[in-house]
Symmetry: C2
Subunit: 205 residues, 2 copies
DNA sequence: CGGGACATGTAACACGTTACATGATTAG
DNA sequence: CTAATCATGTAACGTGTTACATGTCCCG
């Protein structure tokens, strides 16, 4: 028993040393914040869930969000004071919990909307989400976001090109493969940049 | 207490109904199988770990594998009888556990190597892993894999093109955004197909 | 004598998926 | 009478990340 106690103490101590890092929000949480903002600032879980996973608009094309995760995210948003939750009783129906975005929530959403994603692979999920909400909440911001994102992609493409150029000297078998990996990344990044240029044009002046 | 008991029973019953699905292997596990096959059929954790995460060849460029996950994966491979584990005592050093790939392991690896990935986003991780190992274990198979993968990408591109064409009729605001999502997927898929054509050429006859 | 290499792991947590629990109402 | 809809969740599992535990040996 003493040994178990000692072990627990060690674990508790090592736990205390870790300073409880502020878990940042993920795409699911931002999507919920965005949905609330777009739909008048408030909504309840079951209704929000319809926008994911079904044929109700393009959100379901970007990401799925099962009820389990959705309610989980709403709880976290409430803990972080980005939404406030009020319970509405209904006769004959389960009580409905209405979640309303707070000022802090709008601030977090706005900061997120202004930030382009760093990695090309995040364009498919994170960037599309940002674009979806920015278009509805703030069209000029959407245009700026697309321009910023394109700059990030072009910088990345330049960096990849430089890495490839630096590799060409030694043509060992292992370097040949590394080069193909970089070629793939470059091709995907260029495709993203071209696509961004297209939608920038579509977004009008 | 009786209520707790009843609750447990319900949970146990619902648990029994679920038939313990065979968890398939993930990219990390296949990467370890592949590494073992490439390096003479056997190896130990610490040594395998060097190939991920560092500057030791292109594997680390494709995926990271922290020690925690690496040992976890080796345990699962042993449970599935895809590797066998033997302990070697060493003087002054911690005991070394050598993992050797089994016939079943080679079979699983070979089946995986022959299978192109379905989704474009899996090319960056899963497909590159397959290519990396196929080239070292079976060059003609690598060439066939690239050809198959390109066919999958082209089929996907055709399907996306059809979806875009079907969308053009109604030009509502929501459909415009859906179209842009499809455009992005198509661009990424085409970029992958073109890249596959390039490496197919590089793979010689 | 401090720190890194060697070698294998566990603890705690975050993120995600699937399935199911609950319990009334309404539509077919 | 069955099934879906409404509405909110939990259980169990699986994956992944970060940090740390353990203990010896070798190098500077």
């Amino acid at each position: 028993m003493a040994e178990v106690g000692a072990e627990r103490l060690t674990l508790a101590a090592s736990r205390a040393r870790r300073p409880r890092r502020e878990a940042p929000l993920g795409p699911g949480e931002y999507a919920l914040l965005g949905l609330l903002a777009v739909r008048g600032g408030a909504g309840y879980g079951y209704d929000l869930a319809r926008h994911f996973g079904g044929r109700s608009g393009p959100l379901g094309e970007i990401m799925r969000l099962e009820p389990g995760m959705l309610y989980h995210h709403l709880k976290k948003l409430a803990r972080d004071r980005l939404v406030t939750t009020t319970v509405e009783e209904q006769s004959g129906r389960p009580a409905r919990q209405t979640h309303a975005i707070t000022e802090a929530g709008r601030g977090a959403l706005d900061r997120w909307l202004r930030e382009p994603v760093r990695a090309t692979r995040e364009i498919r999920l994170d960037f599309l989400l940002k674009l979806f909400f920015a278009r509805q909440l703030n069209p000029p911001l959407a245009r700026a976001l697309v321009a910023d994102q394109r700059r990030v992609c072009d910088d990345l493409a330049a960096s990849l090109t430089a890495q490839i150029a630096g590799l060409n000297a030694g043509a060992a078998a292992t370097e040949a493969f590394t080069r193909q990996i970089l070629d793939l990344r470059l091709a995907q990044t260029r495709a993203a940049s071209d696509w961004l240029a297209d939608i920038f044009r579509d977004l009008g002046s």
